[in-house]
């Protein structure tokens, strides 16, 4: 047993009395409390753990020496995640797959005499190109006479946002950001259109479920001595039904301004596009980048260049749900290990939130990335959103150690489109203005004009690195 200072619990890990997650020397570890000894031993000894890990449903771990006087039964070193993402940043299909994964894990647990005590979407992460369940302490002994205690949470974390995205608007997925423990079913029921009652699954698990919650909030439940039997097959049917409802929810990415950007809606000729790709590859050549963040990634075309150039993880951010959906489906189809397509409005990025502003990390809290890419983006921030170039440079310098950015001059047709219906108040939006403002935070490593266009690709290194 080694003696070191007490572990510092991560701020988001406080709900479960059976253990917590902490960081030691940069490694994320999970402490298992003595109170969870029997459950943990059963998880490991019953074959459940190995079945889940073998079928790539659960993140694997090894046991490491616990600290003295910590009260720990075990300390686990899970496989380290390359990036933590949150459900409000996921594509529709990603949230749907996470729901189905949770049901699979619950079914496997039941076969081994265990059950999930919670069904939080935050227990699922994108890792190695697939979704996996990460909370080793979510398993409890299964009492066949009891309903599923995680049912409400499953409906709030998965079914309600998926139904709202499907029936009302895909952007309602952002309600998950507002409601950190899932969207209240009463709210979901109010927002869903009447036609959603025609789906028996939505009618039962959201509308009627919400009414039951409302009813029992104000109705005391009295003790009565009588036999009570909720059977295993009842829970199996519930899971079958939830699986059928979730599987039946489809959302088709529509045509947005961005969905066909590379195919039809940009001002690059095929030659200048090839030149841009080749220049970008060149800029990655001498870099050892573990993590790349691609802001404004659209369908991930340039993110994949970073991946091919050797980046281990590329977080491919875009604000358009259709692009993120397309990007996610492509990454699943190609079984791309290192690509994580996520939804992000850079002008209002995911904040630090939850208890004490620390339960969920902001985008910047999850960085800095080794390299940030900002291609075809600066004019949207500076002109579309009135952001001074110095503010853009400041934020990007806090996001990554290096920056690959595309300068788009004012005469570019895309910039002209932005200026078409407004007064040009952007006197500083010039090549020298751009270079001067970015020089406050970065030094230039390369500047490559893109053949066949008036744009320039810069590679910057953050000052003081």
């Amino acid at each position: 047993m080694i003696v070191v200072s007490a572990p510092e619990r991560l701020p988001g890990s406080f709900r479960d009395p059976d253990g917590f997650v902490f960081r030691r020397e940069g490694v994320v570890l999970r402490q298992v409390s003595q109170s969870y000894r029997r459950e943990y031993d059963h998880l490991m000894g019953s074959g459940l753990y190995s079945q889940l890990v073998d079928s790539e449903l659960l993140l694997s771990h090894s046991e490491v020496a616990p600290m003295s006087e910590s009260g720990a039964y075990k300390v686990l070193r899970p496989v380290q995640l390359s990036f933590v993402s949150y459900p409000y940043e996921w594509a529709f299909s990603c949230l749907k797959q996470a729901a189905l994964l949770t049901i699979k894990v619950q079914r496997a647990a039941m076969k081994h005499g265990m059950s999930l005590k919670d069904a939080s979407a935050y227990n699922v992460q994108i890792h190695g190109g697939r979704l996996c369940f990460i909370d080793t302490l979510s398993f409890e002994f299964y009492d066949e006479s009891q309903p599923w205690r995680a049912y409400r949470q499953f409906c709030q974390h998965f079914l309600a946002p998926l139904a709202l995205m499907r029936y009302v608007d895909v952007n309602l997925g952002q309600l998950q950001r507002l409601h950190i423990d899932g969207i209240p079913l009463q709210l979901a029921s109010k927002l869903l259109p009447k036609r959603s009652w025609l789906s028996p699954g939505i009618a039962i698990h959201i509308h009627l479920h919400a009414r039951s919650q409302t009813h029992y909030e104000s109705t005391p439940v009295r003790i009565n001595a009588a036999k009570s039997r909720y059977e295993r097959r009842d829970l199996e049917r519930l899971l079958d039904d939830l699986e059928a409802v979730v599987s039946g929810l489809e959302w088709k990415a529509g045509n947005t301004n961005w969905a066909d950007y590379y195919e039809a809606n940009n001002n690059y000729s095929s030659e200048s596009m090839a030149a841009k790709e080749s220049a970008l590859t060149g800029l990655f050549n001498d870099l050892e980048s573990k993590t790349v963040w691609d802001f404004g990634a659209n369908n991930g075309r340039f993110s994949r260049i970073a991946l091919e150039a050797g980046a281990r993880t590329v977080v491919s951010w875009d604000m358009d749900p259709s692009c993120v959906e397309a990007n996610y489906q492509t990454s699943q189809h190609r079984k791309e290990n290192g690509l994580i397509p996520l939804l992000l409005d850079l002008t209002n990025p995911s904040p630090a939130q939850g208890w004490a502003h620390a339960e969920r990390m902001s985008v910047l809290d999850r960085g800095p990335a080794d390299v940030v890419m900002a291609l075809g983006l600066v004019h949207h921030l500076a002109i579309g959103n009135n952001l001074p170039l110095s503010d853009v440079a400041n934020f990007l310098s806090r996001s990554g150690k290096r920056l690959i950015i595309e300068w788009i001059p004012k005469e570019d047709s895309q910039v002209q489109k932005l200026l078409a219906s407004r007064k040009d108040i952007f006197d500083n939006y010039t090549p020298s203005g751009f270079e001067n403002e970015f020089a406050k935070f970065f030094e230039v490593e390369a500047a490559l004009p893109i053949k066949g266009s008036s744009r320039v690709l810069y590679r910057f290194r953050r000052l003081g690195l």
């Binding site: 009395p17 205690r149 409400r152 909030e217 009295r222 003790i223 009570s228 009842d234 049917r237 039904d241």
Partner: protein
């Protein structure tokens, strides 16, 4: 009535220390018991629907293959004549 009594009992049992970590919500807990029968019926209906769909599909396939072979026979007949 018996069902309701049973539900009350189960909820009481559930409330007595079992749910220290995540509150399942009384409404959600009771609701699962109430819908257990309905979900059974829904499952049966789904099975029946799937069986009917499968039967119809296989019938239409059989019809299609029968008309295809008729077509072949008649085209062979035409060639001969």
């Amino acid at each position: 009535m018996n069902e309701l009594i049973s539900i009350h009992t189960a909820v009481h049992q559930a409330g007595s220390g079992m749910f220290a970590y995540i509150d399942p919500g009384t409404g959600s807990f009771v609701f699962q018991m109430l819908i257990a029968g309905a979900l059974g019926m829904l499952a049966t209906l789904r099975r029946v629907r799937t069986a009917v769909q499968t039967a119809l599909q296989s019938l239409s396939r059989r019809k299609a293959s029968a008309s295809e072979s008729e077509l072949k026979i008649s085209s062979v007949g035409n060639q001969k004549s």
